[in-house]
Amino acid sequence: MYSFAYHCPASLADAKALLGRIEEARLLAGGQTLIPTLKQRLASPDAVIDLKGIGGLAAIERRGDALAIGALAKHAAVAASPVVRQAIPALAGLADGIGDPQVRNRGTLGGSIVNNDPAADYPAAVLGLGATVHTSERAIPADGFFTGLFETDLEPGEIVTSVSFPIPHRAAYVKFPNPASRYAMVGVFVAETSSGIRVAVTGAGPCVFRLAAAEQALARSFAPASLDGLRVDSQGLSSDIHAGAAYRAHLVAVMARRAVLQALG
């Protein structure tokens, strides 16, 4: 770790002011990605701005047909929340499958989606449910939020405050964990929503993406059999020592089918 200044503002306005004033500042949420990055000396910010002093950013509540979850809500809190478990059990289950208890009790929704790790779980839910990301500046629809490998639509200085998840008719998330890291090697989120079927895939490529072929097939009939014969193109999928692109493509189809089965379960 290189040395840096530490700030813990008490309001969003103060945090924004600090971000405006300090050239190289990084926001700190659960620190599960940022702290290892700093320890490995892969980043050397002048300042770290801790969001934990800002009130109200960890709330979880139902607002009409949607679930609003604060950016600082921890994975463990989402997993255990009766509101989430009742409204979108697939989302609670997803949060419960992230990392280990230590990680789940530190890591946050906001940190996860802002980091947009290609193997992270939350992006699949955000995209799969067609959620809206609320920031200090605006509201960003999920389809425009995740823009590439570790990249999002956020502008410098923009702070994610919450995510609003429309409550689906039914949904499921099935993850094939990387054997070593247990991040998603392939994770598929399937949802039947009032605006249609959505299928989002994480882990398989450089960035979470929707699987149009599966969505169309499921729109005809929301049943596992609709995905029989679904061939996922391995072009553009990731390849590493654990899984080549062809294997990932195969797993996407298998996980999609299992997710539909689970959603119907």
């Binding site: 094939f176 070593a180 654990h242 294997y247 195969h250």
Partner: protein, 794 residues
């Protein structure tokens, strides 16, 4: 017999401090004024060092020194090898120098290039980033099969073909003759995957120098403090033993990786002397991946000749063994002496010939890793036995039974050097079949099939050699030192007992087991026996702990020392009881005149030894009650047994789940069944890790370590495992006075082959006859993909 003596399932004394965070590891030791060392390591697998500029680093705040090979050349000798082997032609292995800091060339990613010493860790790290090394990158070779190809990049100018040694064991002509008359020859090509040891405590070293006396003290996470003192002090640094104390305090796991002596330990010691201040270094986890000696890494072709009844006639094995960029402390010995002679296994195969090419490559050096050579041998043998059974349509249990060395054929001379003492393979087999429910497997397979899963069962019957080692045999095989063990028993004036052993515990539980053993022998409660280890200033010279040797060799040394204590006690008792020495019996913790009720308790004798009463014959008998013994074993010990594993494979994803595991082992006398069970569990899991998930992968082009962190190197976890059923079915070893064989590595030796036999059995329907380790989801899926069209066509 004491309540808590031999055979009692006593809880480990040491666990209280470990579980409450009070263990004291090197990292926990803080010396006044200590400096911090950081090593700058090569980012390249193979490169020439064109120049190093340390000036910018030296100018950094808090930087005390920056050393490179230019500073240490001529001052620190190369890292030595403790076991030199000889090739088929009788010539010694190639042993190129291993400078502590890379000199002229780097040979693997992680090779240390410079050492920075600073007032704080942060300052040392900052400065390390400022050291400027210019490299000329050379082509690298990491795979052993590639390294022996013509035209492969050469690590050393004077080691043609990267060949360190071309070694063989067995009778080639006799084996060829056996193959000539074979009814069938089973063939198998396999890879034994490279592993990263991953002890929970990373390596660490803290050295101090006392200018007033010229004394050095090194606290280091080692398995063999006395050996380290000789290799580091005498051979590398020129510090005589009397001026060098090596302390291995609590050590958080070694698995062989800490029986290696490392450059960092010598460099830290040397720097402490140069700077006259304590210097501390603690490896980071990512550094451990790049610098702890790794394990396994073989490519093997094996052939088994059988007659028409499935009797083994001959075994032929050719192995390429990757020893990495340098000759490590025991590196070349592992894939040769600890491998080839194990290929007889539990069977009567009359002719065996094994050739091993020991090969350099641009990877981290390999050395002992739990089991060290024997898991590799067991894997070859037990896999090819299954292949042969399938080829001939024989039952896998049956083919093993037909070839067992019968209980009454022991002692048994194998065709590959070893002479086994005792064993009962039929007994361990029968017990394992029973405990694993072998005969009910078909129903479990059908049940799995109804859930869409492929279920397989695997069996291994093994024998291994441990209890290293008879010094004379070891020296004939190239050991550059003895392999005995030492013990000192000090009976204190009040009758409690301090035990000093040359063995070292880094997870084995010596503080408990040795106390039980000595307590039993001397008739005192084990709670009154304190075991001291890991400090050259306190224990007599001993060889340390590895190769499941502590009980068989260290325990036998304790037995010998205890015998001397009793002998002296008898003399004292005879005087006090006015009897003749021959009439004194030691029984139930008391010295008694045979056939009478006249007796002196152990405590009374201890008291008399230090406070001699008038009847004590000081003219002829020294006061005090303390004895030292050195025990050199007559032979290795040979644990054996039978393991059974069951797996379920999801054919859609390739995921293998281990659903049942049974281990029945013949470990000889069981000193503490709870500790044996713990050792077996840990060993099994370590082998399961190799079979199902662990894989050290280098990029074949760049030589970069692709599995360089736990994000990519997959360790087995608790939720990957079923309940492990374990039992012992022992025959007593004839090779040491306490009858123990060893239990530290049996699990790791048997489990990779057991699990893989189950995996291959699960895939039998696809006509798959072998898959390499680890049976990762992708590998299994690919095997099924490749076989499915074939299976469908048939």
């Amino acid at each position: 017999m004491t309540q808590d003596g031999i055979g009692a399932p006593l809880r480990r004394k040491e666990d209280r401090r470990f579980l409450t965070g009070r263990g004291r590891y090197v990292h926990d030791i803080v010396r006044p004024g200590q400096l911090y060392a950081v090593f700058l390591r090569s980012p390249h697998a193979h490169a020439e060092i064109l120049g190093i500029d340390t000036r910018p680093a030296l100018a950094g705040t808090g930087v005390v020194a920056v050393y490179t090979a230019a500073d240490t050349a001529g001052k620190i000798n190369g890292v030595p090898c403790a076991w030199g082997i000889a090739g088929k032609d009788g010539k010694p292995m190639k042993e190129p120098p291993h400078p502590p800091l890379a000199l002229g060339k780097v040979r693997h990613v992680g090779d240390p290039v410079a050492m920075v010493v600073a007032e704080s860790l942060a300052a040392a790290r900052n400065a390390a980033e400022l050291v400027q090394v210019s490299y000329k990158v050379l082509p690298a070779v990491t795979g052993v099969a590639d390294a022996v190809k013509p035209g492969a990049p050469q690590l050393y100018d004077d080691v043609p073909g990267n060949l360190c040694c071309d070694w063989a064991v067995g009778d080639k002509a006799k084996t060829d003759a056996a193959f000539a008359k074979a009814h069938h020859v089973a063939r198998l090509d396999l890879v034994n995957n490279r592993l990263v040891p991953n002890a929970m405590e990373s390596r660490a070293a803290l050295a101090e120098y006392e200018p007033a006396t010229g004394d050095y003290t090194l606290y280091t996470s080692t398995q063999l403090p006395h050996v380290a003192r000789v290799l580091l002090g005498v051979l590398m640094l020129g510090i005589p033993e009397r001026k060098f104390r090596v302390v291995a305090p609590d050590v958080g796991g070694g698995f062989g990786s800490k029986q290696v002596v490392y450059a960092e330990e010598a460099l830290v010691t040397w720097a402490a002397g140069q700077l006259e201040r304590p210097v501390k270094w603690v490896a980071e986890r990512s550094e451990a991946f790049l610098s702890d000696a790794q394990g396994r890494d073989h490519v093997t072709h094996a052939e088994l000749a059988l007659d028409k009844d499935g009797k083994f006639l001959g075994l032929r094995v050719a192995t390429l063994a990757n020893i990495g960029g340098y000759v490590s402390t025991f590196g070349p010995n592992i894939p040769t002496n600890l491998y080839g002679p194990l290929l007889a296994g539990a069977y009567t195969t009359p002719a065996i010939y094994c050739e091993v090419k020991v090969v350099f490559s641009n990877t981290v050096p390999t050395d002992a890793y739990r089991g060290a050579g024997r898991p590799e041998a067991t894997y070859v043998l037990e896999r090819i036995v299954d292949v042969a059974a399938r080829d001939l349509g024989l039952d896998r249990v049956d083919i093993r039974r037909r070839n067992f060395i019968a209980k009454d054929a022991y002692p048994y001379q194998t065709p590959v050097m070893l002479q086994y003492d005792t064993g009962d393979h039929a007994a361990t087999l029968a017990r394992a079949l029973d405990l694993s429910g072998w005969s009910g497997f078909a129903a479990r397979r059908a049940g799995a099939a109804s859930r869409g899963k492929l279920r397989g069962i695997g069996i291994v019957t093994y024998i291994e050699a441990c209890g290293l080692a008879p010094s004379r045999i070891a020296q004939q095989l190239g050991a550059r030192g003895g392999l005995f063990e030492s013990a000192n028993i000090r009976v204190n004036p009040s009758g409690d007992v301090s035990v000093f052993t040359g063995a070292h515990s880094h997870g084995q539980g010596h503080e408990t087991v040795f106390a039980q053993l000595v307590g039993e022998l001397l008739g005192v409660p084990s709670a009154n026996v304190e075991v001291v280890h890991g400090d050259t200033a306190r224990s007599p010279f001993g060889l340390g702990t590895y190769g499941s040797r502590s009980a068989a060799v260290g325990g036998a040394a304790l037995f010998k020392a205890a015998g001397k204590i009793i002998d002296k006690g008898k003399k004292i008792a005879a005087a006090l009881l006015e009897a003749s020495e021959q009439d004194i019996e030691f029984k139930n913790g008391a010295f008694m005149v045979a056939g009478t009720d006249r007796a002196k308790s152990f405590v009374e004798i201890a008291g008399a030894a230090y406070t001699p009463p008038p009847s004590y014959p000081l003219e002829t008998l020294e006061p005090g009650l303390e004895e030292t013994a050195f025990y050199d074993p007559v032979n290795f010990t040979y644990p054996g047994g039978c393991h059974v594993a069951e797996v379920e494979i999801d054919p859609e994803t390739g995921v293998t789940t281990l659903v049942a595991y049974t281990a029945v082992d013949d470990v000889g006398t069981v000193l503490n069944p709870m500790i044996v069970e713990g050792q077996v569990h840990g060993g099994v899991v370590q082998g399961v890790g190799q079979a199902l998930c662990e894989d050290c992968v280098y990029d074949p082009e760049s030589g970069q370590l692709l599995s360089g962190s736990f994000m990519d190197y997959c360790m087995p976890r608790a939720d990957d495992l079923p309940v492990i059923v374990s039992a012992t079915e022992s025959t007593v070893s004839a090779h040491n006075p306490i009858g123990v064989k060893g239990c530290g590595e049996t699990g790791t030796i048997a489990s990779p082959a057991t699990v893989m036999n189950a995996v291959v059995d699960a895939l039998a329907a696809y006509g798959i006859s072998h898959v390499d380790m680890p049976a990762s989801p992708q590998r299994i899926w690919r095997a099924i993909q490749a076989a499915a069209p074939r299976a469908a066509a048939e």
